[in-house]
């Protein structure tokens, strides 16, 4: 099944549009104000939501609006049960969990806020997006480590291929806060604070409702080790490769040196479960700003349990690149 991207959305400081993800990011010397969800979508609906969910709602709103799946009134333009949600976050609710645990050091459970209960469940991001836009299709939350964002993209394509939904919005989100910084052992400023979203649907379905694809997804691979994963996708032949979106750390020699590379974690902060989706949005930005060839997206590195990778093609042509989508 050909899966295409029909909308993207971003919620982070330093990049409003997908093309801006390819630049140098926010000036490290300037103090950049954090992204303000209330300024983007209004305070209503954000109350009691944790920051990861707030950021996700903003990115999803833009992606769904761009795809035409959600109208100006915020409701779906198609059968609500036909739209799925997959979301990814590793650290999203660590603040809720750990601050509740701290509170219980000092006080009894009476000291806790009952409004925090939904945020203690790690799927709050995915279900919040479903509730905000009335999306009744499959609702899936990935918390799968460094590869999680790209895995959420993969499972959205699986839901589409399995006929469980006709379109899906995929969101990757991570919050910057003191709890995450301490648990990760990094300074707070090193953390990513934002969300990215893409809307995926089958090419035929998109055509059928007159949506304009921005990119087409190629094969996904998951292997132990970056080299094995890249080999699996490219078959040892990097021909046609136009851009490489790298994991947080990587062996630079795995891809030909003349292929431009984008290390979004270096530019925008350690983005953990948001990275794979952020890379997809950036790949769309690269394709729509004159990039030629195929984009290679990789998440996870030798220190992770595995590496996930995905090829992204321009939307409208198929024949001028060696198609690697054969079954190995």
């Amino acid at each position: 099944m050909d899966v295409v991207v029909t909308g993207v959305g971003l919620a982070l400081a330093g990049a409003e549009r997908e093309q801006e993800l390819l630049g140098h990011g926010p000036d490290p010397k300037a103090s950049v104000a954090p992204f303000d969800p209330a300024a983007r979508i209004g305070g209503r609906g954000l109350r009691y939501k944790d920051r990861a969910s707030q950021l996700a709602l903003c990115a999803a709103a833009d992606a769904l609006a761009a795809s035409g799946l959600v109208a100006a009134d915020g409701r779906p333009t198609v059968n609500a049960a036909s739209v799925g949600v997959t979301a990814s976050s590793n650290t999203g609710n660590l603040d809720t969990v750990c601050l509740a645990a701290s509170m219980l050091n000092e006080e009894t459970s009476d000291g806790l806020s009952p409004m925090s209960l939904p945020n203690a469940s790690s799927n709050v991001v995915a279900s919040s997006v479903a509730m905000q836009f009335g999306l009744r299709g499959p609702n899936l939350m990935l918390c799968n480590g460094p590869t999680s964002g790209l895995d959420a993209v993969y499972w959205a394509t699986q839901l589409l291929a399995g006929g469980r939904c006709e379109s899906a919005v995929v969101i990757g989100t991570e919050p910057r806060n003191a709890v995450v910084a301490r648990l990760c052992g990094v300074p707070e400023f090193a953390l990513f604070d934002g969300a990215a979203a893409v809307v995926l649907e089958g090419a035929a379905a998109a055509r059928g409702r007159g949506a304009t694809p921005a990119a087409r997804l190629g094969r996904f691979a998951r292997e132990r080790g970056l080299a094995a994963c890249i080999t699996r996708l490219l078959g040892g032949d990097g021909g046609g490769l136009g851009a490489w979106f790298t994991p947080e750390s990587y062996n630079a020699k795995l891809v030909a040196p003349d292929v431009p590379r984008y290390d979004l974690s270096a530019t925008f902060g350690l983005s953990s479960g948001a990275l794979g989706v952020l890379q997809c949005v950036a790949a769309v930005g690269w394709l729509t700003s004159g990039g030629t060839g195929t984009a290679l997206i990789t998440t996870g590195d030798e220190g992770a349990d595995a590496v996930s990778a995905l090829l992204v093609f321009p939307a409208c042509e198929r024949a001028d690149l060696p198609d690697k989508e054969h079954t190995p």
Partner: protein, 380 residues
């Protein structure tokens, strides 16, 4: 299209393997004990259904959930003849709370914990060489959501075997927030009873190995997975919606090619909360109509507590045991069914019926994530 269930593994407070768990459930034993995981003076509720495998009493250790996951996956994989090498087998794990208990311990300086082990991928890679493992954090329907995805992988011909698992350990944050948010202080889990007043958390894990239906002689398998439905209420962060539940049940029946009349056994989600059990009863009533009095119904949570993300698959493994043995664990603690369930036929103690063939397994979670599986026994 069916897939074969080639191996099963499970553990909970009342039993640490499939056989032991099933015997304990049929005997009506409960795993409920005074709270040992945390300082009970902090909470109104004082009990839980724990797997208390800590070596030093009162001193918690990280990665207990991970340990149970590895154990049930090994049990299922061994039975399915996969052994300990899962390097080419996708492993799909559904969980509500991941290793968040370990994060709590780390945050409070009670243990060191690598945040890269919040999901289960590293442990599965170390133990089984798993390259394609996925941790889905889908609240209390997580393991049946994972089952749906595993079913899709197999039926699409993308894998020759898939391991699906579910696991959860108590977290202090979830226990405390439930304690704060629930109006009552439950003394037990009184699923579907008029006297129910809330749920209590339990610990547990379950795993199944899925194979294409034609890959192994069916007689050797534990049963067939006929279908799994998944959807979302898009209604409320914690309150369930009977319409969303009913839609999931109808979809599961349609996917399995069965009618409500064909279902012999329903494994209820039955959390013992006023809202869930009422909504679940209404949903079943709406779908089954006049046939709502036909299937036997039971649920595990009065004996295992609410095992969160692992609950659905734990119910499914028990359903397979019931279908193959003809013995059905009772819905323990039921005295007077809630009004919407007045016509339901709940399994009494000592329940036996050799004619059971098809079971429906319900799992519903926070955020309105619903999943319903239909399984067929190996004797059927």
């Amino acid at each position: 299209m069916s897939v074969s269930i080639a191996g099963v593994g499970a553990m909970a407070s009342v039993g640490h393997d499939v056989a032991g768990l099933f015997e304990a459930l049929c005997a009506g034993r409960s795993g409920q004990t005074p709270l040992r995981a945390f300082d009970a003076t902090k909470f109104r509720a004082k009990t839980a259904f724990e797997i208390d495998d800590r070596t030093v009493q009162g001193a918690d250790v990280p990665e207990r959930a991970t340990g149970w996951l590895l154990r049930v996956v090994a049990e299922a994989a061994r039975q399915a003849g996969l052994g300990d090498d899962l390097s080419s087998v996708p492993v799909l794990v559904g969980t509500g709370l991941r290793e968040l208990r370990s994060a709590e311990l780390s945050w409070r300086g009670q243990a060191s914990f690598d945040l890269g082990r919040l999901h289960f991928g590293s442990a599965l890679a170390e133990r089984f060489g798993a390259a394609a493992s996925y941790t889905f954090a889908n609240a209390c329907s997580a393991s049946l959501y994972a089952l749906a995805l595993g079913y899709d992988l197999l039926t699409a011909g993308e894998a020759e075997a898939v391991v699906v698992a579910g696991v959860d350990a108590l977290t202090e944050s979830m226990y405390g927030l439930l304690d704060r948010a629930q109006p009552g202080v439950p003394q037990g889990v009184r699923a579907f009873d008029t006297a129910r007043n809330g749920t209590l958390l339990g610990e547990g894990a379950a795993a199944v190995v899925l194979r294409p239906d034609d890959s192994a002689p069916f007689a050797g398998g534990r049963g067939r997975l006929r279908a799994v439905s998944v959807n979302c209420d898009a209604y409320h962060v914690t309150a369930p919606d009977p319409q969303g539940m009913a839609a999931a049940i109808r979809d599961a029946h349609a996917r399995a090619g069965v009618k409500a009349d064909d279902i012999d056994l329903i494994m209820l989600h039955g959390t013992g909360t006023p809202l869930n059990d009422e909504a679940e009863a209404i949903a079943i009533g709406a779908v089954f109509g006049a046939a709502a009095g036909r299937p036997l119904m039971t649920g595990l949570k009065p004996q295992t507590g609410h095992t969160s993300g692992g609950a659905g698959l734990l119910s499914l493994v028990v359903a397979l045991q019931a279908l193959s043995s003809g013995r059905v664990p009772p819905l323990a603690g039921l005295v007077e069914p809630l009004p919407a369930a007045a016509r339901f036929r709940f399994a009494p103690p000592g329940c036996q019926d050799q004619r059971l063939r098809l079971a429906q397994v319900n799992a519903f979670g926070f955020g309105g994530v619903n999943a319903v599986a239909i399984v067929e026994g190996s004797a059927g």
